[in-house]
């Protein structure tokens, strides 16, 4: 009887473990240890009571999903790499459309950062092809990097100032994009309270 109860607990925990894949191993072990302790406390080796304890934990995949979502959102809010923030942002939306919009906006910020830093690098490697050009009188003609030699008649505005300005502007875009995403995640978490909970 007690063996069956233990087998049920282990089978449940094995499913939680699979669904928690991706979290740090130490954290997974800690979560599983706590869930085992909880079910053993409530079950006391009795099969029926163990079933009740497992039922109160809910579906193992859903439980793991809640742990993962909470973990990734907290990590994203407290800082972390762009990938961590992006993963946190995916959990911080209520609908699929919201998820697509939020991740697209976040990626848009990083694409701009990438382009600016690329322009700064291009200026260092091939000064004649990188610059901020425009045709006098036509501000819509503004361009940053030329893959050909700049067309005659275009005027370059920044010279070597392009490098520090592009780097600083790219950095500012990164900070604003990350902060906006983190604020979004924080507001979502607070508004949601412990909903999956």
């Amino acid at each position: 009887m007690a063996t069956d109860a233990a087998a049920r607990i282990e089978s449940y925990l094995a499913r939680v473990r699979v669904a928690l894949r991706g979290l740090p191993e130490r954290e997974i072990e800690d979560i599983l240890r706590e869930l085992r302790s909880h079910t053993e406390d409530l079950g006391g080796g009795d099969e029926r009571r163990v079933d009740e304890a497992l039922k109160s934990l809910g579906d193992p995949v859903e439980l793991a999903k809640t742990y993962r979502a909470e973990n990734q959102m907290v990590q994203a809010e407290c800082g972390g790499s762009p990938l961590v923030i992006l993963m946190g942002l995916r959990h911080a939306t209520r609908s699929r459309l919201g998820r697509i919009i939020a991740t697209t906006l976040y990626c848009f910020g990083y694409i701009n950062l990438f382009l600016l830093w690329l322009a700064a690098l291009a200026k260092l490697l091939s000064p004649s092809r990188a610059g901020l050009w425009y045709v006098p009188g036509d501000w819509w003609s503004i361009s940053l990097v030329s893959f050909d030699n700049p067309p005659p008649g275009e005027r370059e505005l920044l010279g070597w100032w392009l490098v520090p300005i592009a780097v600083a502007l790219g950095w500012a875009i990164k900070v604003v994009t990350d902060r906006a995403a983190q604020r979004w995640i924080g507001r979502y978490r607070r508004s949601k309270g412990s909903q999956e909970a």
Partner: protein
């Protein structure tokens, strides 16, 4: 069926749903309040919530929330060997957790006092 699962069911009335939202909103404060006097492990927290605040919650609700509060630096935890034969994970408030608990409790107290003032005529009339 537990009270929590009854409230979460699709057949729950609008009043039940309102009540569950209200309870969920103050769950974090209730957990921090539970841990104010000292350390407790998960099952003790669940039981304390049920007996002292009428918050009947599933374990699948409380454990991820404890994990999140710990990740936020509001709780600390340690494994303690128990007489039951297996270790238990005890949680305690960190200094940041104590500050947060006090701020939330003050806010809650002010809010509920104001609301009570607003609702007192309604309750008096309802009591007649």
């Amino acid at each position: 069926m537990t009270r929590a699962s009854a409230i979460d069911s699709p057949e729950a009335s609008p009043m039940d749903k309102w009540e569950v939202q209200l309870r969920k909103g103050c769950l974090e404060l209730a957990i921090l309040g539970c841990l104010w006097p000292g350390k407790l492990y998960g099952l003790e927290i669940l039981r304390r919530l049920e007996s002292d605040s009428d918050l009947v919650l599933s374990a699948g609700t409380v454990y991820p929330l404890l994990s999140r509060l710990k990740a936020e630096g509001l709780l600390d935890s340690e494994w303690v060997e128990a007489e039951a034969g297996h270790p238990r994970k005890y949680y305690r408030l960190t200094p940041a957790g104590r500050r947060r608990a006090q701020q939330m409790a003050r806010m809650w107290s002010r809010f509920s006092a104001n609301l009570e003032e607003l609702l007192s005529p309604l309750l008096k009339e309802g009591g007649r």
